[in-house]
């Protein structure tokens, strides 16, 4: 058991490709976590989609044993954190489990987008930041210029920044030494009742649900009966331990330490990120601050293109849910689409990730209906209902009032992008609450309708600020709005999956945009296909997909009919990837495109 003074918990903040994984691998190698044979490249990122999108979804940790220059043994816990606002809450919990962060900057590229947003988050968590300039081996490296840039743009002291090459190993030892010298050690009371933070949880095929924890006070031991305060359930701990990154069992995790616990937990949904874990018979007095139950922010319907795939979709959702408690689903039936599921997600990226995994890992082609936030409706008979499915929208005459969710956002940016960001906020019906400058940074507080930020605000913000902005938000409550249900008619027939709830003032612009997009994505048919957007029977936008004019094989290849038949089979397979509405085949991409432009 290590003393608090000999523990350091830290996160690594880096823009994609600046060398986070390479450095992590080096640190693991140097401290002997894995033998060279076991070292396979880049131990940290694991899921394909995470890699491709350059984001981490699940927190991962590694414990390093480091013998300092003075010969003392330290325990260093490295935690890898998610990097997208959809997972903002998960990031904040990971950061809350550490006292400091390494800020890795590519010495030839300089400070980039993601870096800044995450540094701001770390600063909000009172982290000590240790700047590290990587890739100094490159001829294009300009460490001095980049140091100045870090000071100017981020506003932290970079004079003592380390210069390393994760690739060659140059200076990597110094990183370990600097971690113990510069980063603060954890605080905690070992004799106090157990108080641990649930950082993350995931489902492992062999181990079942694995829970990642940071112990603040007390001790977590094998066999102990613990209670999760938020979920209010108790479990007997079967195993505790840590990752090196190999799983290593331990008898106890004490105050200041990060590690895992395994108990008879059925699904990750029962182990909620941010929850406080305490001893059942000697509970801590106050739970840790900041626990928020999972709240679905965006809802949409998922329907198999091939109605026969319903059961497979159910099984696949069940499997994904084992490992991701942050989305919800329940069965839904639609007259036009048949059987499917109504699902709730943390945000649009989260929705896209789940949809992509269903397609890629489970080979399911899906129709994704227009995503929506949750509205509150007060009906003329006084009843109150919640609404996130355009199909459930009552008649206009039955509605007394519609309320939409609002959030309070905090944004941090470097001053030079302030103008562009203020413009964006205004365009999104934002109401400024406060604006303050700290050095080269500006901190903004704004109120927004959730509907305005949930779809693509983050992407817009990134481009408005070239990425030099961070963004987080909390719900504040519901306010009145003027909502309409916009139908999309294809060849004269309404397509339920494309119907959406929109603000009346924006209906026309969005209707036009959707019609234009669908025109590009709906293939040509033997007849012309009109596409219309309408509200309550009134057409507000219209486009037409022209009819196919020529599609015939001119030549006859002698008697080679096989070739023609193969072509036909290919065309038929292509048609199977579409769903027929009336007489028109609509491809999966058309639905996904409407999802992506949800917030336009």
């Amino acid at each position: 058991m290590a003393k608090l003074s000999h523990i350091r918990n830290f996160a690594i903040i880096a823009h994609i490709d600046h060398g986070k994984s390479t450095l992590a691998d080096r640190l693991i190698q140097l401290t002997g976590g894995l033998s060279p044979r076991e070292m396979k490249d880049q131990v940290l990122d694991s899921m394909d989609i995470e890699r491709e999108r350059g984001i981490t979804i699940k927190a991962q940790t590694v414990r390093l044993r480091y013998e300092s220059e003075t010969g003392e043994l330290y325990i260093l816990n490295l935690i890898d954190t998610p990097g997208h606002v959809d997972f903002g809450y998960e990031v904040s919990r990971s950061l809350a489990a550490c006292e400091g962060s390494l800020l890795i900057v590519d010495a030839s590229q300089g400070v980039e987008a993601q870096t800044l947003a995450n540094v701001y988050k770390a600063l909000e968590n009172d982290h000590e930041i240790l700047p590290v300039l990587n890739k100094v081996d490159l001829p294009a490296a300009e460490p001095e210029r980049i140091k100045t840039q870090i000071e100017d743009v981020i506003g932290i002291d970079a004079s003592s920044a380390l210069m390393i090459s994760a690739k060659t190993g140059l200076g990597v030892e110094n990183v370990l030494e600097a971690i113990i010298k510069t980063l603060p050690c954890p605080q905690g009371e070992i004799s106090a009742p157990l108080k641990a933070l649930l950082i993350d949880s995931w489902y492992d095929l062999y181990l079942g649900v694995v829970v990642l924890v940071r112990v603040f006070d007390g001790r977590l031991t094998k066999g102990m009966r613990v209670r999760m305060l938020g979920a209010d359930v108790a479990y007997d701990i079967e195993r505790v331990g840590f990752f090196t990154p190999k799983l290593v069992d331990a008898e106890v995790l004490s105050s200041g330490e990060i590690g895992f616990l395994i108990a008879a937990i059925k699904e990750v949904a029962a182990a909620r990120v941010g929850d406080t874990i305490t001893e059942d018979k000697r509970a801590c007095a106050v739970p840790l601050a900041g626990f928020k139950p999972v709240q679905s922010v965006v809802f949409c319907g998922l329907f198999p293109i091939d109605t026969g795939d319903f059961e497979s979709v159910r099984v696949a959702l069940g499997k994904l849910r084992l490992n991701d408690a942050s989305f919800n689903y329940e069965m839904e039936t639609s007259a036009a689409l048949g059987f499917g599921f109504r699902c709730g997600f943390l945000g649009l990226l989260h929705l896209e990730i789940i949809q992509e995994r269903l397609t890629r890992e489970f080979n399911l082609d899906l129709i994704v209906t227009s995503p929506s936030v949750v509205y509150e409706l007060v009906l003329t008979d006084g009843r109150e209902i919640i609404l996130h499915n355009p199909a459930d929208m009552p008649e206009r005459t039955e509605i007394r009032e519609v309320l939409e969710p609002w959030i309070r956002a905090s944004l941090m940016t470097s001053n030079e992008y302030l103008g562009a960001i203020l413009k964006l906020c205004q365009a999104r019906r934002g109401i400024q609450v406060s604006l303050s400058c700290v050095g080269s940074r500006t901190i903004l507080s704004y109120d927004f309708p959730l509907n305005e930020i949930v779809f693509d605000f983050y992407d817009r913000l990134k481009s408005a600020s070239k990425g030099y902005a961070s963004f987080d938000y909390d719900f504040t409550g519901y306010r009145p709005c003027d909502l309409a249900c916009m139908q999309i008619l294809v060849n004269g027939e309404p397509v339920d999956a494309l119907a959406m709830l929109v603000h009346r003032s924006q209906a026309e612009v969005r209707g036009r945009f959707i019609c234009e997009t669908l025109k590009e994505l709906i293939p040509r048919h033997l007849f012309k296909v009109p596409i219309q957007a309408a509200i309550g029977g009134k057409v507000i936008a219209r486009e037409t997909v022209a009819a196919l004019r020529k599609d015939v094989t001119a030549k006859c290849y002698g008697g080679d009919i096989t070739r023609k038949r193969k072509l036909l089979e290919k065309q038929k397979a292509g048609k199977k990837k579409m769903r027929q509405f009336g007489k028109v085949d609509i491809p999966q991409e058309a639905f996904l495109a409407v999802v992506k432009m949800g917030g336009e």
């Binding site: 020529k550 599609d551 094989t553 002698g558 008697g559 096989t562 038949r565 072509l567």
Partner: protein, 387 residues
């Protein structure tokens, strides 16, 4: 004997060599700089015929057509053609009206050659004219000019009772007026048959790479449609109506060989890359030979047959092929035959909706046929028709 066996029967003979490769062509044609040992090839073709004689024997088939296709069969020594026809007549009983066609390239057309083919038994020539304009012939990479093509035509008319020629249209920069003029001239020269192909850019050809790199720009779909419609109108007015997507004939002069394909009759194919479709003990087979001439030759010399594939077709596959071929014909298809082949019926709702759109029609005798409108979009039509 099943009903299917009583249908027409044809033999296709493939000659896989050409003097030069045309930039649009993806047929199984090869240019060889060393002289080809024609008699060795002839011997191999005859061994394949022997092989098929066994497989198709005892079926009471009457041979209605023989077709020498290519490549460029007009590079064949007339004696080789003669030997092959002799071998065929030993194995099958031949219809008295048998059609024996040979494809010829104007570049390898001379009176001696033509006379040789004629006396071997060829009674129909299909000439690869491709265009009657010098500029177009250059674009198409042909080795002959229009004058040469005209000379070959005249010659052929003197020698062969029946003559067809091929033209390619809808190439880059081809305007409506230009094609009207060219086609009118062609119609005035036409004997009893014309094949008019819209240019298709095929993967693996020189045109394909040119198009991908942007150096060849194909006409837009709408222009293609206009030219197609114009072609139908002009040919009809000239007394050579379309009887198939790209084929036009004076009534009664349709190519019997191609009709065998389109009516999904039985045929065997000998030679490199040749295809066959035939019933054997009530199972329909799809056969195809190795494409590379040298590979094919050594296989035949070793095994007596150069087949790369020889597979039974499922009812669904036969049904699909029957539709693909039969609906190309103006005469359309017999739905009973479709049911016999595929074991299913076409969906009446789909037929009705395509009929309502004016793409298909029912002939008085009950046959299902594609209209002129429908023929321009036949590929899609068939996808819609079957599921």
């Amino acid at each position: 004997m099943t009903v299917e066996l009583r249908g027409n029967f044809g033999i296709y003979v493939h000659w896989p060599f050409c003097a030069s490769k045309c930039p649009y062509c993806d047929f199984n044609s090869h240019v060889r700089h060393k002289e080809v040992d024609q008699f060795r090839y002839a011997a191999a073709l005859i061994r394949e015929l022997d092989y098929y004689a066994v497989r198709t024997s005892g079926s009471g088939r009457r041979l209605e057509s023989i077709f020498f296709g290519g490549g460029t069969p007009s590079l064949m020594d007339p004696r080789v053609v003669s030997k092959i026809l002799e071998a065929i007549s030993c194995h099958w009983s031949i219809d008295e009206n048998v059609e024996i066609t040979l494809e010829a390239n104007p570049t390898s057309s001379d009176s001696l050659r033509f006379a040789g083919y004629r006396s071997a038994g060829v009674n129909r020539l299909s000439l690869g004219v491709q265009s009657l304009r010098d500029a177009t012939l250059r674009t198409l990479g042909r080795q002959h000019d229009a004058a040469e093509a005209l000379r070959s035509m005249e010659l052929a008319r003197l020698v062969f009772p029946r003559l067809s020629f091929d033209l390619i249209y809808t190439h880059p920069d081809q305007g409506e007026d230009e094609w009207r003029e060219e086609l009118s001239l062609a119609l005035s020269l036409a004997a009893d048959h014309l094949s008019l192909y819209q240019l298709t850019i095929e993967p693996g050809t020189a045109f394909y790479s040119l198009e991908r790199s942007g150096r060849l720009v194909m006409p837009l779909e709408e222009r293609g449609r206009t030219l197609f419609d114009l072609t139908q109108d002009l040919c009809l007015a000239a007394g050579l109506p379309a009887y198939e997507i790209s084929n036009h004939a004076r009534p009664g002069s349709e190519s019997r060989h191609n009709l065998i394909y389109w009516r999904y009759g039985d045929y065997i194919g000998v030679g490199a890359g040749a295809h066959g479709r035939f019933f054997e003990k009530s199972v329909r087979y799809a056969a195809s030979a190795f494409r590379l001439p040298e590979t094919w030759l050594s296989m035949v010399e070793k095994n007596g047959i150069g087949l790369e594939q020889d597979v039974p077709l499922s009812p669904a596959e036969s049904g699909a092929e029957f539709l693909l071929m039969g609906l190309r014909l103006v005469e359309g298809i017999d739905l009973d035959r479709y049911r016999r082949l595929s074991g299913t019926n076409l969906n009446p709702e789909r037929i009705a909706s395509l009929e309502a759109l004016g793409f298909i029609t029912r002939h008085k005798d009950g046959r299902l046929a594609v209209t002129v409108e429908g023929r321009a979009v036949l590929n899609r039509l068939i996808v819609e028709l079957i599921d």
